[in-house]
C-alpha cells in the first residue's frame, strides 16, 4: 500500500527539498506530512537538525558576530534532515 508515509519517503527519494514541496508533490495535508517526517525521524530513518544561521556561543575569537547564537531558538527554525 502506498500510504502517506511511503509517499513522503518517495518524495525524499525524488529529491524534494522542503515540506511545502512534499505537500505539493503528494497532495497530503501539511500536518500529516510533518507527522510522517517526525515518524521517520523517531524511527531512525531520518535525522533532524536545527539550522542556525548565526554563531554559536563562546567560540568566536576575533569575530564581531561572535556570540550571536543565543537567540537561535527564538528565530524561525530550519530543519535539516538526511537519510540515516
Amino acid at each position: 500500500m502506498n500510504g502517506p508515509l511511503s509517499q513522503v519517503a518517495d518524495a525524499f527519494a525524488h529529491n524534494k527539498r522542503s515540506v511545502p514541496e512534499i505537500v505539493r508533490a503528494t497532495g497530503l495535508n501539511r500536518d500529516v506530512v510533518q507527522a510522517c517526517v517526525e515518524h521517520l525521524v523517531s524511527t531512525g530513518r531520518l535525522h533532524l537538525e536545527a539550522l542556525s544561521s548565526g554563531c554559536p556561543l563562546g567560540a568566536c575569537g576575533s569575530c564581531a558576530a561572535g556570540s550571536s547564537c543565543g537567540h537561535a531558538a527564538a528565530r524561525p527554525r530550519t530543519a535539516h534532515v538526511r537519510a540515516a
Binding site: 505539493r24 544561521s53 567560540a59 535539516h80
Partner: protein, 731 residues
C-alpha cells in the same frame, strides 16, 4: 457549572502496597508526596484506573496537574528509570443530567464534548476479557442504547463509584513502537500487561493533530476504552487550525473532549465523558479484516482521513500564504535574483543611511575627543610625549576609527535580524543548498558555510555535523572564503571611501564573489577529493513567514553589535598597541615615540613585502602593512590605517579616505579603483584571522591548515592580479 475538585489524597501506604485493585503494573515508590490519609477502599477494586497518555509536549502533565491538583506522587517505576506521576481525580457529586453536559457546552465555546456510539465487541483474549471485566463498571455493561442513556442520567452521588478515579500520568510517548524506554513502558502497561487500565485518556495537540494521533491509532487497535482530550486549541487557532470535536469523534470512533488545562476548562466535560465511557463495555478494537496488525503506512492513511474529517480549518490558509510567497522566492530563476536584490538592498541601505552618523562620529573622535585628551595630557605634563602618541594617535586614531563604524554595523545587523526573524533567511538557506546540490556537493556542507558568513571560527566547529571525514576536511578548507562580518566591515569602509553612492553595491558584489569563490573552489576540490562522495538527501522544514518582532530584532542586533564592540575593546586594542610600538620605533633619525611613520620599523618591514603586490596595484607599504595586521583580526585593518594616517595628521574618515586614495593612486599609477577592487578580492580570499587558523588546526591538524593557507594565498594573489589587470582597462 460544577467544577472538578482537585483535592487529591494521594497515598503512600496504598501506593506502597501491592493491593492495587484494577491498577496496572506494580506500585510506585513515593519520591515527593504529601501524606494524606485516605481509605484503602478509595484506591481499591472499585476505583477505576485511568491512564493519561500522549506525545511529549501536548499538555498532558498540565492536564494531569489540573485534574489532580498539586498533591501527586512522583517516582520511578520500580526497576526502571521511567518516571510517572499518580494522583486521584475526585469529582464533586453532581445531580444534573449528564445529557446537558454532553450536548451543551459549559459556556466556554472552546470547551465541548462529543461522544461516539461505538459498538462493544469481543475481547482480544480471554484473560484480557476477564481482567477488563473486573475493571469495568457493573452498571450499564450491556452497551445497548437505553442502558447508556440511563448511565448518562445517573446522578453522580457520593455512592457513585466513579466520582473518584486514580490517574496515572504516563511518560510522553509518540507511539507504542518501543523506540525509547518511555514508549516501551507505555506499550507494556497499556497493551501487554494485565490488568489493563480501565480507560485511557489520550491527549492530543490541536495544533499538531496528525502527530498526536499516531499513538491514538495504535491504542485504538487494542480493546481499550479511550477518550481523546484535545488540548492547545488556542495554539491551534493561532496556527489557523480548527478542530471540529464532533467530526473528530465520529472519525476516531471514540469520545472526544476539548480541554484547556491551563485555564481549567473542559475538565467537567472530561470527567463526565470518562464516567460515561467507563459505564460502557470495552469497545472492539479497530482491526483489519484479515486479522493482521496494521502497518505504519496504514495508520498514517487512517490519520490522514481522521485529520481531514476532524479539522474545519487545517491551517493551510496561513501556510498557503507562505507557500505562495515561497513559490516565488524559491523559484529556480527568480529565487536567486530576489535573494541578490534583497542582499543588495541591505548593503545599500546600510551604507547610505548610516553614512551621516559615521561622519559625525568620525568628526567627534578626530575633533573634540582627540583635542580633549591631548589637552588633558598637556595639563598633566605629558603633552608631546610617547604617551600622547599612544593615546591620541594610537588608541583614539585606531580604535576610534573602528568605532565610527558602530552605527553602520548596527544598521546592518538590524536589517539582517529582520530578514532572519521574518523567515526569509531560512529561504536563503534553501537557495544555497540548491546550488550545492546542483553542483553535486554534499548538502549538509552548506550548514557550516552559512554559519561562516557570520564568523569563520564557529563555522569550522560546525563542520562536526558532517559524518564523512573528507566532507569535514573540504568544508573546513572552503569556510575561509566566506565573507565573515569582520571582512564586511572593511568592505563597507572601503566602499564608503572609494565608491560613494555605489558603496552598497560594492559590498554586495564582494558578498557575491565570496559565494562564487566557495562554489568554484568546491568544484575544484570535488574533482579531486570529493569524487564519488554521495550527496545526502536534505529536507528543510520552512517556518511560515511572520512579522518580525521589534524586541527580538533589536536583541539579536545588539548581541552581534556587542560582539563587534568586544572585539574592538579586546584584540583590536592589543593590536593597536603593537602597531603603535612598531610605528614608534625609528629605523633612521628620531627617537622612540617621535619617529616618522614613513621611516618607522612598521613601514620598513612592510616595504620588504610590498613589491609582491605591485602587479595587483596595491604595492604600497601603507596598504600591505594593514594586510599583516588583518591576520590578527580583519577589523584591525581599519584601526591600523587609522593609526598610520592619524600619525600623518589625518584623523577623520574623510581625511583617511583622501590619504588612502592618494596611496592607492600612487601604487596603481592612477588606477585607484581597480587597485581597491583587487585589494578587496585579496582581502576576501587570503589567510583568515588567527582564531580561524587555530580552529582549523584543531579540526584538521597543522598539515591541512597549512595546505589551506597556501590555497587561499594562491587564489587571493592570482585573483587580485587578474582583477587589477582587467579593471585598470576600465578604471
Amino acid at each position: 457549572m460544577t467544577a472538578s475538585t482537585p483535592t487529591v489524597p494521594v497515598v503512600n501506604e496504598v501506593l506502597g502496597s501491592t493491593d492495587m485493585g484494577p491498577c496496572c503494573g506494580p506500585p510506585v515508590p513515593a519520591k515527593t508526596t504529601k501524606r494524606t490519609r485516605t481509605s484503602r477502599k478509595a484506591m481499591g477494586g472499585d476505583v477505576p484506573v485511568i491512564a493519561l497518555v500522549g506525545a511529549p509536549n501536548v499538555g498532558k502533565s498540565t492536564l494531569f496537574n489540573a485534574m489532580t491538583g498539586s498533591n501527586v506522587t512522583m517516582g520511578n517505576w520500580p526497576g526502571s528509570t521511567v518516571e510517572i506521576s499518580r494522583g486521584t481525580w475526585r469529582h464533586k457529586p453532581k445531580t444534573v443530567s449528564r445529557k446537558r453536559h454532553i450536548n451543551q457546552p459549559e459556556g466556554d465555546s472552546q470547551t465541548n464534548t462529543a461522544s461516539c456510539e461505538h459498538q462493544p465487541g469481543p475481547m482480544a483474549t480471554g484473560q484480557q476479557s476477564v481482567e477488563l471485566a473486573s475493571a469495568a463498571p457493573t452498571v450499564a455493561s450491556s452497551g445497548d442504547a437505553p442502558t447508556r442513556a440511563l448511565a448518562r442520567e445517573l446522578p453522580m452521588t457520593a455512592s457513585d463509584p466513579y466520582q473518584e478515579m486514580t490517574i496515572i500520568d504516563f511518560p510522553g510517548a509518540y507511539s507504542l513502537d518501543s523506540t525509547s524506554p518511555d514508549e516501551e513502558f507505555t506499550r507494556r502497561h497499556l497493551v501487554e500487561q494485565s490488568p489493563a487500565p480501565s480507560l485511557i485518556i489520550a491527549v492530543v495537540d490541536a495544533a499538531h493533530l496528525a502527530r498526536s494521533l499516531y499513538l491514538v491509532s495504535e491504542v485504538r487497535e487494542h480493546p481499550l476504552r479511550v477518550v481523546v482530550a484535545v488540548s492547545m486549541s488556542d495554539v491551534g487557532s493561532r496556527h489557523g487550525v480548527d478542530v471540529d470535536i464532533d467530526a473528530l469523534s465520529e472519525a476516531l470512533e471514540v469520545p472526544v473532549v476539548r480541554v484547556d488545562p491551563r485555564r481549567r476548562t473542559g475538565l467537567d466535560d472530561l470527567a463526565h465523558t470518562v464516567r460515561d465511557t467507563l459505564a460502557l463495555e470495552v469497545p472492539s478494537p479497530r482491526a483489519r479484516m484479515d486479522g493482521i496488525e496494521y502497518d505504519e503506512d496504514e495508520r498514517f492513511a487512517w490519520i490522514a482521513k481522521v485529520v481531514g474529517k476532524g479539522t474545519k480549518n487545517d491551517g493551510s490558509a496561513r501556510q498557503q500564504l507562505s507557500d505562495r510567497v515561497d513559490r516565488i522566492v524559491l523559484a529556480k530563476v527568480a529565487g536567486p535574483l530576489i535573494f541578490i536584490a534583497v542582499m543588495w538592498a541591505v548593503f545599500q541601505i546600510t551604507t547610505t543611511v548610516a553614512s551621516p552618523l559615521q561622519d559625525l562620529l568620525g568628526e567627534l573622535f578626530a575633533g573634540p575627543v582627540s583635542s580633549g585628551v591631548a589637552w588633558l595630557l598637556s595639563a598633566a605634563g605629558l603633552g608631546d610625549t610617547w604617551v600622547e602618541g599612544l593615546l591620541v594617535h594610537g588608541l583614539i586614531g585606531g580604535v576610534g576609527m573602528l568605532l565610527t563604524f558602530v552605527p553602520l554595523m548596527a544598521l546592518m545587523f538590524i536589517l539582517l535580524a529582520l530578514l532572519e526573524d521574518s523567515g526569509y533567511l531560512a529561504r536563503a538557506a534553501v537557495l544555497t543548498d540548491r546550488i550545492m546540490g546542483a553542483l553535486g556537493l554534499p548538502g549538509r556542507a552548506f550548514l557550516p558555510l552559512v554559519v561562516g558568513f557570520g564568523c569563520n571560527v564557529p563555522a569550522i566547529a560546525a563542520t562536526r555535523v558532517l559524518s564523512q571525514p573528507r566532507h569535514r576536511l573540504m568544508t573546513v578548507l572552503l569556510i575561509p572564503f566566506t565573507a565573515c562580518s569582520a571582512r564586511l566591515t572593511v568592505f563597507v569602509m572601503l566602499g564608503t571611501v572609494f565608491f560613494g553612492r555605489w558603496a552598497g553595491t560594492a559590498v554586495f558584489v564582494m558578498y557575491l564573489v565570496s559565494i562564487l569563490l566557495v562554489v568554484a573552489t568546491g568544484l575544484v576540490l570535488r574533482s579531486t577529493l570529493w569524487r564519488a562522495m554521495p550527496s545526502e538527501p536534505l529536507v528543510i522544514d520552512l517556518p511560515p513567514y511572520q512579522v518580525p518582532t521589534l524586541r527580538l530584532t533589536l536583541s539579536v542586533a545588539w548581541v552581534r553589535l556587542r560582539g563587534f564592540l568586544k572585539t574592538a575593546a579586546g584584540i583590536i586594542v592589543a593590536t593597536v598597541v603593537v602597531v603603535w610600538i612598531l610605528q614608534a620605533i625609528p629605523t633612521g633619525a628620531g627617537t622612540f615615540g617621535h619617529a616618522d611613520t614613513d621611516t618607522s620599523l612598521y613601514a620598513w618591514l612592510a616595504r620588504h613585502v610590498a613589491p609582491i603586490f605591485a602587479p595587483a596595484g596595491f604595492g604600497a607599504w601603507q596598504i600591505v602593512s594593514a594586510l599583516f595586521v588583518g591576520f590578527v583580526a580583519k577589523e584591525a585593518i581599519i584601526s591600523s590605517w587609522g593609526q598610520t594616517f592619524a600619525v600623518s595628521g589625518t584623523e577623520d574618515i574623510t581625511g583617511l579616505g583622501q590619504q588612502l586614495t592618494a596611496v592607492f593612486n600612487a601604487s596603481s599609477n592612477g588606477h585607484a579603483l581597480a587597485a581597491v577592487a583587487a585589494f578587496m578580492v585579496f582581502l576576501l580570499a587570503y589567510t583568515p584571522c588567527v582564531a580561524t587558523l587555530a580552529a582549523q588546526k584543531r579540526e584538521v591538524g597543522w598539515r591541512w591548515t597549512g595546505v589551506g593557507v597556501l590555497i587561499q594565498l594562491g587564489v587571493a594573489i592570482i585573483m587580485a592580479i587578474v582583477v587589477f589587470q582587467v579593471a585598470r582597462v576600465f578604471w
